[in-house]
């Protein structure tokens, strides 16, 4: 019982840490590229609205980056403090992947972020642009290596087990393991969608409190466009990822779909309350045949049910059903809301532009066309990417249980023998700190948005018209 308590508490602690951590890389991965885009647009057009956008978002980038770094360090230590069995068993595989993340990504981003943040007037323009590029590139490299390792834990290959320890036999197979391309694409798109909606939401907020600057218009259009363009791609990519999961982790897909019995023409369970004791769904609302159609592209395709993953002696070999089932629905639901909202926003902006053909110049979208309800809906959707990303990760990670590395080692095998009360104590402290920091983080974003809307950031823009900005940019920071 003692061991079980430590196991559960350590799992909750790691889940809390990694959930808190992933919020920030999800923002920085794509925001780095968006900042690079703003920076390049400024260089191309010398239009100050792009620099104003850059300056506003670079602050949020710096804050998110710091949050990501400190919570990431916490996790690298928790491998040792709470999960020593993981590295002892698969360290020969996980080690080089993590090492390459540190070597190729962490230092790159950590060094160049200093130049990116504080170097604008100290270094030539091209070097500042290069620093911005390298930071964005570093965050993506970091995402690549960590997704490689995570995907390998879902679909391991390219190794052999000798005396209970994994040894690498084929690095190419390890890196390009079957689920890696899908998971990487899915996560990169998730990051861009998160940032698209964050930019759209914060800009909508600035618009609603009276900010009519050209920067806010540009940012709103960029944010909504990223969302509208990428959400269909993401839905398609999610479908491909699901097909991949069905092939390699059928128990996870069965839990996602809430299917208990293996059957042909399996229904899509829209809603239901999975009951693992009774092994059925209560109050289920189903569309006949649709799950089979989505996953096999045939109306009468056969899908494996959860009951196939129970051993003869009654040992359950599938993940807990309800959390996977619900997280999956939260992710899909949030994605659909993103689709509806971003397309509606684009439609209204395009409509306004089309009606004023000839009178409005410039972009093919007009922000004035956005009705108030759409703007108000965009504000809470600023963090919709977080909800969808977390729900997606819960689906895939809880869906891998009871395995830590699919088919190789269970989560229970990795846990440290730390007294349960100690883990409970650290867990509560982490939760309190994370809650406070999250509160402060969102508070600061709102504060920065209000400050920018009041025009505190517009100083540089005003001066540019009198020609002073050029002089300022040349003189050193002091």
């Amino acid at each position: 019982m003692e061991a079980l308590d430590t196991l559960i508490l350590s799992r909750i602690q790691f889940a809390a840490n990694i959930s808190f951590h992933i919020l920030f890389p999800t923002i920085t991965i794509a925001l780095g590229w968006v900042l690079f885009f703003f920076r390049v647009r400024y260089w191309q057009t010398q239009d100050d609205k792009w620099m104003a956008a850059y300056r506003f978002w670079v602050k949020i980038f710096a804050l998110s980056f710091a949050m990501g770094v400190v919570s990431g360090i916490t996790m690298s230590f928790q491998f040792g403090t709470n999960w020593p069995g993981f590295m002892e068993t698969v360290g020969n595989i996980a080690g080089p992947l993590l090492a390459y993340e540190v070597l190729t990504a962490f230092f790159l981003e950590a060094v160049f972020i200093g130049i990116m943040l504080f170097g604008f007037s100290r270094v030539p323009g091209w070097l500042h642009m290069l620093a911005t590029f390298l930071v964005a590139f570093g965050t993506s490299m970091s995402a690549f290596w960590i997704i490689v390792l995570n995907s390998w834990m879902h679909t391991p290959q390219g190794f052999e087990m000798i005396d209970g320890v994994a040894y690498a036999t084929d690095w190419w197979a390890i890196i390009f393991n079957p689920s890696m391309p899908y998971r990487f694409a899915h996560m990169m798109l998730a990051s861009f969608l998160t940032v698209g909606f964050l930019i759209a939401g914060v800009s909508a907020f600035r618009w609603l409190i009276g900010d009519r600057s050209r920067a806010v218009r540009a940012m709103l259009k960029v944010g909504v466009s990223i969302g509208a363009i990428l959400i269909p791609v993401q839905i398609f990519m999610g479908d491909l990822h699901g097909l991949n999961t069905k092939e390699y982790q059928p128990a996870k897909v069965a839990a996602m779909e809430g299917l208990w019995e293996t059957q042909a023409g399996a229904p899509l369970v829209l809603f239901g309350i999975p009951d693992e004791a009774a092994r059925t769904n209560h109050m289920a609302v189903e569309i006949p045949g649709l799950a089979s159609f989505i996953l096999t592209h045939k109306w009468d395709g056969v899908l494996k049910g959860l009951n196939d993953f129970v051993a003869e002696d009654g040992t359950v070999l599938h993940p807990p059903v309800a959390p996977v089932f619900w997280s999956f629905r939260v992710m899909v639901g949030t994605g659909l809301a993103m689709l509806v909202l971003s397309w509606a926003a684009i439609w209204f902006m395009w409509l306004r532009r089309a009606r004023h053909e000839g009178k409005v110049t410039g972009h093919w979208l007009a922000v004035e066309g956005l009705p108030k309800p759409i703007l108000w809906a965009l504000v809470p959707m600023a963090f919709s990417g977080w909800v969808a990303t977390l729900a997606g990760w819960y689906t895939t990670e809880i869906g891998r249980q009871p395995w830590l590395v699919q088919g190789v080692m269970t989560t229970e095998m990795a846990v440290a023998d730390v007294p349960a009360p100690m883990v409970l104590g650290t867990l509560i402290t982490y939760l309190a700190i994370y809650a406070a920091l999250l509160f402060a983080y969102i508070g600061v974003i709102a504060y920065l948005a209000r400050k920018a809307a009041k025009g505190d950031d517009a100083r540089a823009i005003d001066m540019s018209h009198s020609g002073k900005a050029g002089v300022l940019a040349l003189s050193p920071a002091e």
């Binding site: 300056r55 670079v58 804050l63 980056f65 710091a66 949050m67 770094v69 400190v70 919570s71 990431g72 360090i73 916490t74 690298s76 230590f77 491998f79 040792g80 403090t81 020593p84 590295m87 002892e88 360290g91 020969n92 996980a94 080690g95 080089p96 993590l98 090492a99 390459y100 540190v102 070597l103 190729t104 962490f106 230092f107 790159l108 950590a110 060094v111 160049f112 200093g114 130049i115 504080f118 170097g119 604008f120 007037s121 100290r122 040894y167 690498a168 690095w171 440290a416 023998d417 730390v418 100690m422 650290t426 402290t429 700190i433 402060a440 600061v444 504060y447 920065l448 300022l472 920071a477």
Partner: protein, 336 residues
């Protein structure tokens, strides 16, 4: 010296060296960041902004050396990683909380509204102190062979305080170089007042180490080793005397030699560190697990080794670039 024909022999040695190097770089670089954090409440508000400016562009990269060090421990010596970090569960936790508070306070204080700035300043100080104390505590327990008794806790509590004061010393030395005027005078005074932490810290570890085990006693005090090793304490003593004197006569006209206290402090830290490395080698968990027993498979280590050979010089290169770009006296940091 390892046998370079046998990968199972030289790879663990190479990784132990790289890990040792990373820890040393971390202790010096993040040491001055943390030291500046510890000295933070002693400065006025305007000085605080300059102190932040003196470490702002660097702290993130400095902290990454810790990630590299613990990363190498994790990937090259997984057995040791588990043993050490499980034994140090609580101090590691305190350090992580400290690092979280320090790192985010840094960003928040620059962006939050004015009335919240004081709170973040305080958290910046608290985070720096927690991190330094926790690292000193871990150092003490590690020197004591990770034994957990009241005596080792007492020793660890001492090293915790000494390391925190030692960090404030190297932080002050950094500020001497990066500041001018009143702040520089203050930094000189802080340097004079915290030098004792360095002396007592190095002294305590040096005296305790040979007493921990007969192996270490033999290693240090048997003949002729004692002769080869004699330069280590002698040079350290000379460096301390130099610092003692310099901090009383600086600053010089035109700010000449303002970089020297930091350079000498770095040399002192490096010497003390080399002494420790000599003590523990070839153990990674003192007296229990050698680097050879704890090492990952040579094939996996080799993959990392190739990458490290290419990447570490590049990292060193662009780190130098960053320090060059932000050279000179610190100013308040601005995003434009």
């Amino acid at each position: 010296m390892p046998d370079f024909a046998n990968p199972a022999d030289w790879l663990p040695w190479a990784f132990a060296s790289l890990m040792g190097f990373s820890i040393l770089v971390y202790v010096v670089l993040d040491g001055f960041d943390l030291g500046v954090g510890i000295l933070f409440p002693l400065a006025t508000q305007a000085e605080q902004d300059k102190m932040i400016g003196a470490i702002g562009p660097f702290w993130d990269a400095n902290e990454t050396w810790l990630v590299l060090a613990v990363g190498i421990l994790l990937v090259a010596f997984p057995q040791a990683h588990g043993m050490i970090l499980t034994a140090l569960y609580l101090p590691v936790f305190v350090m992580l909380v400290g690092l979280i508070l320090r790192g985010v306070a840094f960003e928040f204080r620059a962006k939050a509204r004015d009335r919240h700035k004081r709170l973040w300043n305080r958290l910046f100080f608290v985070g720096s102190v927690m991190t330094a104390l926790a690292q000193g505590f871990m150092l003490g327990l590690y020197v004591m062979g990770l034994e957990q008794t009241w005596a080792t806790y007492a020793f660890a509590a001492l090293t915790a305080v000494f390391l925190a004061v030692g960090y404030s010393f190297i932080g002050a030395a950094w500020l001497i170089h990066k500041s001018e005027g009143a702040l520089q005078s203050k930094a000189l005074r802080w340097g004079r007042e915290s030098l004792w932490g360095v002396i007592l810290g190095i002294g305590a570890v040096s005296l305790a180490t040979p007493l921990v085990s007969t192996r270490l006693f033999e290693k240090w005090l048997s003949f002729p080793q004692v002769l080869y090793l004699a330069p280590l304490p002698i040079v350290s003593g000379l460096l301390i005397m130099w610092l003692w004197r310099m901090l009383r006569v600086m600053p010089f006209a035109d700010d000449r030699r303002s970089w020297q206290p930091f350079a000498v402090a770095t040399a002192l830290f490096a010497l003390a560190y080399l002494g420790m490395a000599y003590s523990f080698y070839p153990y990674v968990v003192p007296e229990r697990l050698t680097i050879y027993a704890a090492a990952s498979a040579p094939e996996s280590l080799f993959i990392i080794f190739v990458g490290a050979c290419v990447v570490v010089p590049v990292i060193a290169g662009y780190s130098v670039l960053a320090y060059t770009i932000f050279r000179g006296k610190a100013t308040e940091l601005r995003y434009d």
